[in-house]
């Protein structure tokens, strides 16, 4: 079975999926993948949607993305077990060992902090790689181009400062 597809095939398939999702034959809306996080936070911490304006605002997109996320999780889990055989309990990624350190504690603490900032950042900007980069730039939106340029800049500066090749 195929375990991997090349980037160009992935790009073509992603374009087709975006177009299908945008179309009236699909969902008539863009794909987004960061609103589900505060939506689930609201459910997990039992926040009253009547009291928090943000939960009210994201009720519909949060629900939509929540179902999308379930599809991603279930699909990726089944793929990982039966097709790509990539399931495995690991903590420290190979490149983290190569460019940062071997410490599981370091990786976990940084992951927690980065996960926290990632969602604050996405919600401040009103989108993430999916909502802004993929769906927004597909509509040639200026907001998404600004987001894309700022993210790429911050990503590459951080990559330069945060990692270095270990001898």
């Amino acid at each position: 079975m195929i375990k991997r597809i090349p980037w160009w095939l992935g790009g073509i398939l992603m374009a087709l999926l975006l177009l299908f999702t945008f179309s009236v034959f699909g969902a008539n809306r863009p794909i987004g993948a960061s609103t589900y996080v505060p939506y689930f936070a609201g459910i997990i911490f039992d926040l009253d949607p009547q009291k928090y304006t943000y939960l009210k605002e994201i009720h519909n997109p949060g629900s939509w993305e929540g179902v999308l996320l379930l599809g991603v999780l279930v699909g990726a889990f089944l793929n990982a077990i039966f097709v790509t055989k990539t399931f495995g309990w690991t903590i420290v990624p190979a490149a983290w060992k190569k460019y940062k350190n071997d410490s599981a504690v370091s990786r976990l603490v940084w992951s927690f902090v980065a996960g926290f900032l990632l969602i604050i950042g996405a919600r401040l900007a009103g989108g993430c790689t999916s909502g802004h980069f993929l769906s927004g730039m597909t509509q040639t939106a200026f907001s998404s181009m600004i987001f894309g340029a700022v993210v790429m800049g911050a990503l590459i500066v951080t990559g330069k400062l945060f990692y270095k090749e270990r001898k």
Partner: protein, 207 residues
């Protein structure tokens, strides 16, 4: 549909499904299927791997930008003509300058360190990556803080310069604009040299 004050967690999760079913943006099954395909494309191209995203931040891997630019280039041209045909419509996000710059900076920093974004993280969680599960808990707390302090966050998100796209800006030359935009992105995607940072333990790399 908004739920009542005293509904429990189970009711709220069930309400997620009924909201989607009644909202008119595809049935629950269709949205679930879109999720499966979205996750599978990410997983089969391995762009959710730490090596791909953190690797890109170090400019040691270019699969992520190559695939992103190709997808956007192709989809932008396709979407424009679909909108013209009445098969789709614009869903533009507003230019909230403060939010885009501060949020984009935080997002870029976090993406380089985490090696994931909110769409690729769940694929790694489903593959058993414990660091990403911990990061997701951090993300849930981020969502909590943002929700609770939304009014404070809002004060740094402005000014809102409205919704504008490149095709609207070049009114009268929309199809030419979108063709140039799309073709330039496709050209960039092809022109970026293919370099890869690999994880030897990942079966996806063992041909």
């Amino acid at each position: 549909m908004m739920y009542d004050k005293d509904t429990g967690m189970i009711d709220r999760i069930l309400s997620m499904f009924t909201t989607v079913q009644n909202e008119g943006h595809g049935s629950v099954l269709l949205v679930f299927l879109i999720g499966i395909i979205f996750g599978s494309i990410i997983q089969y191209t391995r762009v959710h791997k730490f090596e791909k995203i953190a690797g890109f931040s170090m400019l040691k891997d270019t699969v992520v930008p190559k695939m992103l630019f190709l997808a956007i280039g192709l989809a932008s041209i396709g979407l424009y003509f679909m909108i013209e045909a009445g098969w789709a419509s614009y869903h533009l996000k507003p230019i909230t300058l403060g939010g885009l710059i501060i949020g984009g900076t935080l997002f870029g920093i976090a993406m380089a360190i985490f090696g994931k974004c909110p769409g690729t993280g769940p694929v790694s969680v489903a593959e058993g990556r414990i660091d990403i599960m911990v990061g997701s808990i951090g993300g849930i707390f981020g969502g909590l803080v943002f929700t609770v302090y939304y009014d404070q966050f809002k004060t740094i998100m402005g000014p809102n310069l409205g919704k504008l796209s490149l095709t609207q800006y070049f009114e009268g030359h929309e199809s030419l604009t979108v063709l140039i935009f799309g073709l330039v992105l496709i050209a960039i995607s092809i022109a970026i040299p293919l370099i890869e940072e690999t994880d030897d333990k990942d079966p996806g790399y063992q041909e």
